[in-house]
């Protein structure tokens, strides 16, 4: 194991620095860039995806042989992530339909606000 370990870990350093730069850039985009909100969201998401790939390829042994376990694990992880996010959104966004006020014209947001005031 020694010969392999003593090699300069170039890939890891590049990946580490890349992750740091992308994280700082995302923080700057959110806090200091002054871009329109939509562009902030888009840029953060793009940087997140890039960083995810950096992590997967440079740290997570995705390119090694015997990668089938890694791929299976990742697919499972994506499945769980989808369940958590989509499931939460779906179960938690139930309507506040018992609106007793007379004007039926208010949008859902209006109804939610009223609901909060009523309590």
């Amino acid at each position: 194991m020694s010969a392999e370990n003593e090699k300069f870990p170039k890939q890891h350093i590049v990946g580490f620095l890349g992750s740091l730069v992308l994280t700082l850039a995302a923080a700057w985009a959110a806090v200091g860039s002054g871009l329109p909100t939509i562009w902030i969201i888009v840029s953060i998401m793009v940087m997140a995806v890039v960083q995810a790939f950096i992590q997967l390829f440079m740290f997570m042994h995705l390119t090694e042989k015997n990668g089938s376990i890694q791929v299976g694990n990742m697919l499972h992880a994506f499945f769980i992530a989808a369940v958590i996010i989509a499931g939460s959104v779906w179960t938690m966004s139930f309507g506040f339909s018992h609106n007793h006020s007379d004007d039926g014209g208010g949008g859902e947001e209006m109804q939610m606000e009223e609901q909060e005031h009523n309590h």
Binding site: H76, A77, I80, V83, G87, S88, T91, M92, F94, H119
Partner: protein
């Protein structure tokens, strides 16, 4: 001084004064005994710094039994309060604290550590490995669990216990309705021990996937190892959800954010959603290893190969997959609507299918077997009817429309105790008595074991069956005073609880009695076992296997016994590479405790000091170039000859 008496220490309750006095006395007694017998060095060298999976497993189990005692005392206090109407044995606040700590301790600090302890001891032996994949990380797991548990348990004498239920629902657990350190203890105690659990999940996943003996394909693994592998997957994917939820609520409470608050666009029910996204897989984390234990025990004592091995594996995989798809059934009454509730009703009921498959496989294993009724087998046979009862009432609860009636009543309380005690606790007792000879070199006394089994199993049914009817009568969960018409059933229930307590005490006494009087084991194969852990000598040498056998089929040891084969192949001995002990996990976890205690009291200087300590330990570890040591062939020979004397 004023702060000390009014806020820091919990004052005004004689029960808690008694607890304080006993904590001080026990601590003094431990220090005295260790000093008098000069055991400090021994304790540090052999236990606190160990990375040996067997010793870590034993420490987990000891801690879990201590926590079972603490949680059991909580349960007895609750039963005492609920026996008669209008008692003021506990006031409502104290009652709230006790049901909260009872639930949290039993799930997080008793059930999981008990099973993880058994996994630690058994899994590397079953797959022919010499330790887990990351022995150092394993020690970090144990010590962060131990210090997390200590932090949580400290709450009832310092600062006050958490009192929002083990589910800790927002907004009740939020800063507005529950100021003070109590809920912080819950959040940080679970956070610190959760780090350990997550690391355990990763550790065992890698161990089982990468370190099996040559020839042991996945489908040749013992069933307990399979259950541990699947459990590790669930831990690895479920615990991050808890970590995030706890962190969000900690930020809510300490730094004033509004994730789960009523005001400022917070969503209190999102806590319940995240909690159960973790919490339901958690239920399977504590039941699947128990299923594995029962499978091993039933197959060994029915003296037959496990019936339907493949179906067992697949049903566990399906249960693991479904475990992430049912969480909303814990809060049907939130009112998410018919669409959401029906989907989660169906997924919940689906889980009973693979579980039913497993039940029939256990029955099939026993069918026409020559059954021996030793204590581990009694626990396993007792498990089946008691657990089925819990499973059937679970399907009743799964129907969303009906759940509106059962929700938050004693029907639910009876249901989940029926699955968790009959499943997990019986499983822990079965596993401990089954592997006890391998751990300590002697069996637990059979007669005492049977007495404790009968007290416990009869008490268990007497305690929890009446609760179903109390639920139908409308007795709500988490109430501290009962109506007169609920009294007769509550009295019966309390009698059952006392019987269970007697069973537990006999079990603990049995540990002492067996240590003194049980015959020492002469061979490694106590029960005529079938999996590889019985191929080792008793006591197990620290390197487990002098030579790792080639595995050619399922039930590795059974085959070895018929065809010949050994874990001590004298001709092919090689030096064994073993990891070195380290004090860093203990010290690092102690720093986690310091940081956690600082955050509980919102003393940032202390929290920051603790975090710096943790980072320092990580740095120390990163520059640690100790790659372990080699056990020489002579030492292996000497150890093995000595251990195998009895076999000749």
């Amino acid at each position: 001084m004023d702060f000390l008496l009014n806020e820091f220490l919990v004052t005004g309750d004689p029960l808690i004064y008694g607890a304080m006095v006993s904590i001080v006395l026990v601590s003094i007694a431990i220090v005295f005994v260790l000093t008098y017998f000069r055991k400090w060095g021994y304790l540090w060298r052999e236990w606190l710094t160990t990375v040996d999976h067997k010793k870590i497993g034993i420490m987990y189990i000891i801690a879990a039994i201590a926590m079972l005692f603490r949680g059991g005392v909580d349960a007895m206090l609750m039963r005492a309060q609920l026996t008669l109407p209008n008692t003021e044995f506990l006031n409502s606040q104290h009652y709230n604290e006790i049901f909260t700590t009872h639930g949290t301790i039993m799930i997080i600090f008793m059930a999981m550590p008990f099973l993880i302890g058994l996994m630690n001891f058994v899994v590397p032996l079953q797959i022919g490995a010499r330790d887990v994949a990351f022995p150092f990380l394993n020690a970090v797991s144990f010590w962060s669990f131990a210090f997390g548990a200590m932090l949580f348990n400290l709450s009832f004498v310092i600062g006050g216990s958490p009192d929002a239920g083990w589910t800790n629902y927002a907004p009740l657990a939020g800063p507005n309705l529950n100021p003070g350190p109590n809920i912080n203890y819950y959040l940080l105690g679970l956070q610190i021990s959760g780090i350990g659990t997550l690391a355990t999940g990763i550790n065992f996943m890698v161990t089982i996937l990468k370190m099996r003996a040559p020839g042991m394909k996945l489908m040749r693994m013992p069933i307990f190892t399979w259950s541990s592998l699947i459990t590790s997957f669930i831990i690895t994917f479920a615990f991050p959800i808890l970590t995030v939820a706890l962190a969000l609520m900690t930020i809510d409470r300490i730094f004033g954010s509004q994730f789960f608050t009523l005001t400022g666009e917070g969503m209190p029910m999102m806590w319940a959603n995240l909690f159960w996204l973790w919490g339901h897989p958690e239920v399977y984390i504590v039941i699947l290893p128990a299923f594995g234990i029962f499978s091993e025990v039933i197959s060994t004592f029915a003296r037959k190969q496990l019936f339907g091995y493949k179906a067992m594996v697949w049903s566990m995989l399906i249960i693991a997959g479904l475990s992430f798809l049912v969480w909303v059934h814990h809060f049907f009454t939130m009112g998410a609507g018919a669409g959401v509730n029906s989907v989660f009703s169906v997924t919940t009921m689906l889980i009973s299918v693979p579980t039913g498959v497993k039940i029939f496989n256990w029955l099939g294993t026993m069918y026409k077997g020559k059954i021996r009724f030793d204590t581990p087998m009694l626990w396993s046979i007792g498990f089946i009817p008691c657990f089925v009862l819990g499973g059937v009432t679970g399907v009743m609860l799964a129907m969303a429309a009906a759940d509106y009636q059962y929700h938050n009543t004693y029907f639910l309380v009876a249901h989940f105790h029926n699955v968790l005690i009959a499943g997990t606790v019986f499983g822990c007792f079965a596993g401990l008595t089954f592997w006890y000879p391998k751990m300590f070199g002697h069996k637990m006394n059979e007669k005492l074991g049977k007495i404790s089994f009968w007290f416990f199993v009869i008490g268990f049914n007497v305690c929890f069956l009446p609760m179903y009817f109390l639920g139908f009568m409308g007795m709500p969960r988490r109430t501290y005073s009962i109506e007169p018409e609920w009294m007769p059933l509550n009295v019966i229930s309390t009698i059952g609880a006392v019987l269970m307590a007697v069973g537990f005490l006999v079990f603990v006494y049995n540990i002492y009695y067996s240590f003194r009087y049980s015959e020492r084991e002469k061979t490694g194969d106590t029960w005529d076992g079938r999996a590889l852990e019985w191929a080792t000598t008793t006591p197990v040498p620290f390197y487990n296997f002098a030579t790792v056998p080639e595995i050619t089929g399922p039930e590795a040891f059974w085959k070895m016994k018929q065809e010949g084969g050994t874990t001590y192949d004298k001709e092919n001995l090689e030096p064994i590479h073993m990891p070195s002990d380290s004090g860093v996990p203990f010290i690092m976890s102690a720093f986690m405790f310091v940081a956690g205690f600082g955050l509980v009291w919102e003393w940032m200087f202390m929290a920051i000091a603790g975090l710096i300590g943790i980072l320092a330990c990580m740095v120390v570890r990163s520059f640690d170039y100790d790659h372990g040591f080699h056990v020489s062939v002579e030492e292996i020979k000497e150890t093995e000859e000595k251990a195998r004397e009895g076999e000749k």
